[in-house]
Symmetry: C2
Subunit: 711 residues, 2 copies
Amino acid sequence: MFNTASRGWAMACVIGLTAAGRAGSDEGMWLFSAPPVEQLERDHGMAITPDWLLHLQRSSVRFSSGGSGALVSADGLVLTNHHVGADAIQKLGDPAHDYLREGFAAATREDELACHDLELNVLVSVEDVTDRVQAAVAAGMSAESAFAARRSAMAEIEKESLAATGLRSDVVTLYQGGAYHLYRAKKYTDVRLVFAPEQQIAFFGGDADNFEFPRFNLDVCFFRAYEHGRPARVEHHLAWAESGVADGDLVFVSGHPGHTDRANTVAELVSLRDRRLPLDLQILNRLEAVVGAYAAEGPEERRQARQDLLGVENGRKARSGVLAGLLEPRIMAGKREAEARLRRTPEGERGGAASPYARIEEAQRTLDGILVRYRLLEGAAAFNSQYFWNARGILRAAEERGRPSGTRLREYRESNLESLEHQLFSDEPIYDAFEVVKLTDSLTFLATTLGGDDELVGRVLAGRSPRDRAEELVAGTMLGRRPLTGMGTAVADTRRELYDGGAEAVAASTDAMLGLARLVDAESRRVRGIAEAAQEVKQQAHGELARARFAREGAAGYPDATFTLRLAYGTVRGLDGGAKAATAPFTTFGGLFARAATTGEAPPFDLPPRWRAFRDSPAANEAFRQTHFNFISTADIIGGNSGSPVVNRKGELVGVIFDGNIDSLVLDIAYDDLRARAVAVDATAIVAALEHVYHAAGLVRELVAGDGHDR
Amino acid sequence: MFNTASRGWAMACVIGLTAAGRAGSDEGMWLFSAPPVEQLERDHGMAITPDWLLHLQRSSVRFSSGGSGALVSADGLVLTNHHVGADAIQKLGDPAHDYLREGFAAATREDELACHDLELNVLVSVEDVTDRVQAAVAAGMSAESAFAARRSAMAEIEKESLAATGLRSDVVTLYQGGAYHLYRAKKYTDVRLVFAPEQQIAFFGGDADNFEFPRFNLDVCFFRAYEHGRPARVEHHLAWAESGVADGDLVFVSGHPGHTDRANTVAELVSLRDRRLPLDLQILNRLEAVVGAYAAEGPEERRQARQDLLGVENGRKARSGVLAGLLEPRIMAGKREAEARLRRTPEGERGGAASPYARIEEAQRTLDGILVRYRLLEGAAAFNSQYFWNARGILRAAEERGRPSGTRLREYRESNLESLEHQLFSDEPIYDAFEVVKLTDSLTFLATTLGGDDELVGRVLAGRSPRDRAEELVAGTMLGRRPLTGMGTAVADTRRELYDGGAEAVAASTDAMLGLARLVDAESRRVRGIAEAAQEVKQQAHGELARARFAREGAAGYPDATFTLRLAYGTVRGLDGGAKAATAPFTTFGGLFARAATTGEAPPFDLPPRWRAFRDSPAANEAFRQTHFNFISTADIIGGNSGSPVVNRKGELVGVIFDGNIDSLVLDIAYDDLRARAVAVDATAIVAALEHVYHAAGLVRELVAGDGHDR
């Protein structure tokens, strides 16, 4: 399943070398401000209009937790994937309520459950601010100064925009510095859970079937955006298509692909292949073991850890897929050839050792040199605890808020503070035993990676073993909602107090986790500073290359993915099996029942009780069994596209993206339509399941009617 | 659970600095040739006699696969842990027979199942050959020459002994070069499975309860040694005690602790902490993810992969425990102090930069420098496939057998060939899909560790992706039993033919996996050569330190564990709970039922169907429920001791070791009796379960009567 948009390693390092793709291919993650008008006309005879685009844009939703969704009723009803919502659903649970396992359906609007820290954004407008951002950087500036000047200009634009419009305002970097756009979005922070099926049917087949097709997943859930305590009335939402898609149909995907590396130089790809992905996988592999062992301790531990575990398994499989692509000689050879060609252009060769390519390579070496330390400290791989994130957030907020917005660490800029606070004060439950397990493991990783006798390790462990130190830190912090023993429902939580108290209160605090954050912050900031300067060097070099190309070819291409709204399109198409049988583009509910039967219904192929009962009832008739369940298309998607609406030519909802097949993981570095496919839940299946299996008549009416007034 | 004896990294590097332990402590893994007579007399008022010792020695069994056991009837019946036998049990299965899951009970002797590649050894005699081995090494020899001379002398002694006695003959290195002993053992290679319970009761609680106590595991199984096609008649076997042990009882453990690091110098321990264990854990973590994902694909995949997975989980938990000990500041500080004291002795300081400690440190640096390459190549972490092991075995056998025994790689010495061939020609089933998965992952590990553009990586991958190359290699080898498609039960297998054909046949072979082995062998041998020379330097330095100490103090201590037979002793004793409740030294069958109930019988706490039915029957009465199931003692054990018989003062069997608690893992580096405990299955429980749950009356009679003649 696709999910988290960011890879957690510094900023993206991308540029659109891959322009428009070859004629006839459905390549591209297009900007709504620069849609593939000609390609669609040429290859599919489809003319898209500004109104069609605007309606789709304003019906599309970004989940700040990393994922996509769509407004599907005038009353703010939002459809997304179950796995996009799962983190929020898990946090709503407690030892007596396991909504992931049991599912959830609000009987009335009053029963909809308010999420702890979900934020939804709907893109309202886009403005090109490239000139203003570029003007801030003077020729001859050092990388550090250039970075600071650019950051400051971006923060100023955002602050002005926020003040002027009240909308969430982000300057986004496209073509890795070739362009800067101001994205303004309507923000919803009161988001409530409306409906979720059991995770067992949402993620039927589990890790084994993840990134595979044929597939049988009801990977959907519904939230509702609220404003002023009432369901948000929205102007745009997608209509539910009356009929499903057919083989060969053209479909569109509107969502937020998180990150691609298609325009990386060879030096950057080699670093990704030999350093960054292996380090990510090393960290994920050990997390999988540690979290898996904790989950095996009992049912409650399993409930607490399940989402972490699924996320880790998913991340492992996704990164392994990208790595496999990078280890595919034909792909790397293609990249090398393309780069060799481009290096022979005037802008590629200019400057010799100071050529853009050489500067990128040099900056990449710097990044590689600090990679491990960056991940351990700034990436907090050494301090895997929610309390630590809270502690760092409070520590840095106290320092950063005392400075002008433009000089702050970027996530503390004025225009982002509301979103930051929404995260920082989340009242999600934190489980101390689980925190201790994760923190022990990550402190051990720190010690063995830097060496047990390293000076920083000595300071962090403070003369204790990782286990003892982790217990001490967790026991000694109040930076989260902590039930007070023997005090009923009373909780201790000093976050708000310290945040509001500012630098003085934070300096006076003896909170143990805050102490740890303080202890490592100078070194963490130092490493981040080196990374930011190196990224600036890359950004300038990539920007030069991109602008030279725009001048030569026009800006007809699409930029690498950056978790901003993109339009993709594709054809519903099965897979040629080669030596094996071909794969049809659709699965059905009947196929689900067959798959469960042939695997003996052993986990992860067991049906939830409700589905077993339904299957054995007369209602599970032939018509139901033949309903299309999941389908595949050639649309160009990647992690972050999870939950993206799939619409037909009329702009009506026909499905929701939830995955790519294993061969699609290579889309991180290059588009392919031979074996790569986007996998979606068919809209027909959603309605059929809601109606027949869940008897959710009200929800079905709202979907079909487009609002909930007759519920 | 304790299991594999070796850590897979070159030779042990140990010496008995830890002499006898403090008075009153039950420390020690004693040589049968130098038992702790005084300590037992002093602390427990127990006088052990030569006859008592000899009987225990000759009733003890070593499993060459890594584990211990005991002869328990005159007809060659052998008791060990289920997890020691599990590998052999798994290999006996096929898609229609899952003996791990279902258990196995031979109705008659004719039904006993012959194992594919199990070898059992019973130690017959020990001879001190230190002088002869040391005499081979002349002063001033280079490390390489000294290593070769020592290897040659050892091989010669072994060859002579084999010729003279027909017994398996191994010269073992003790006190890391302080002494060399010739161990002669009776060898059994026709070993058959008699009885195994369901793995679910043998390993109740799975990874979650592993290395924990209280515990509820029937971790036993029975094999029978055969000779000339008939059950072996043995002179010595352990009698079954009439009553169980009580709190405070003295017990003895006779088994084969695999490896300890107690006498390592600080430099060696730092390497273990910062390099070797982290690398091991990295490899294990990725294996756990890969094998786990394969096992999740379906029931047959789970059957194929289960043993691998359990082994990996177990190894991960065991190594994490040792690492936790090394990261415990008090333990490392103790090691540093002890070493500082010893370095002030004449033999410690002699030579300055050429002092034994300095030489060990220097050699350790050399080993650290090649660690990764050694593990990838010689350790085959880059080629994780049984076919590769077979290919290398055949390739090297062809070369080595053409040389004099004393100059061969040690595992190819004349006296070891029979055991080697027993492994090499095992007719265990190999599953190609599983091999491809493991090989793909390990080739990926090679590529990312050395870098995708590394020259060796390029040669190994031969222009293909890891996945394609793995498929090509597996499809292109016949070095294992391979069913021929469409040919009924016919199998292809060229191992014997190539082995018998020698160097010429091997050189002419176009087998793909043999080609890979050939491709990397020069580099693999080169790295091994560096490691062996560095080990020789360490061995000489440790030997000097040890001999100086013997001269000063006498050889009263015990050497570090080396998978040779050792005597440990301990007291049946519970655990002081500190702030929590104390833990009694026993669990009961009633406790098992309670544990299953409180965990909702969700895996890994589900009882096998037979046990559920029994629990709900009147036969599960109060007397049965109160039967002692598992117990703990302070005996000094480590991995490899699994399956060790536990006997009382009279030398009667009262239990079988199957684990240590989590706090016992630190015993790798230092003894402790405050929190560390050895965990055993109570002999009373074995008989009660066989009788009441399995109705194995014949087996019970054989155990109680001591032979099977009245069956």
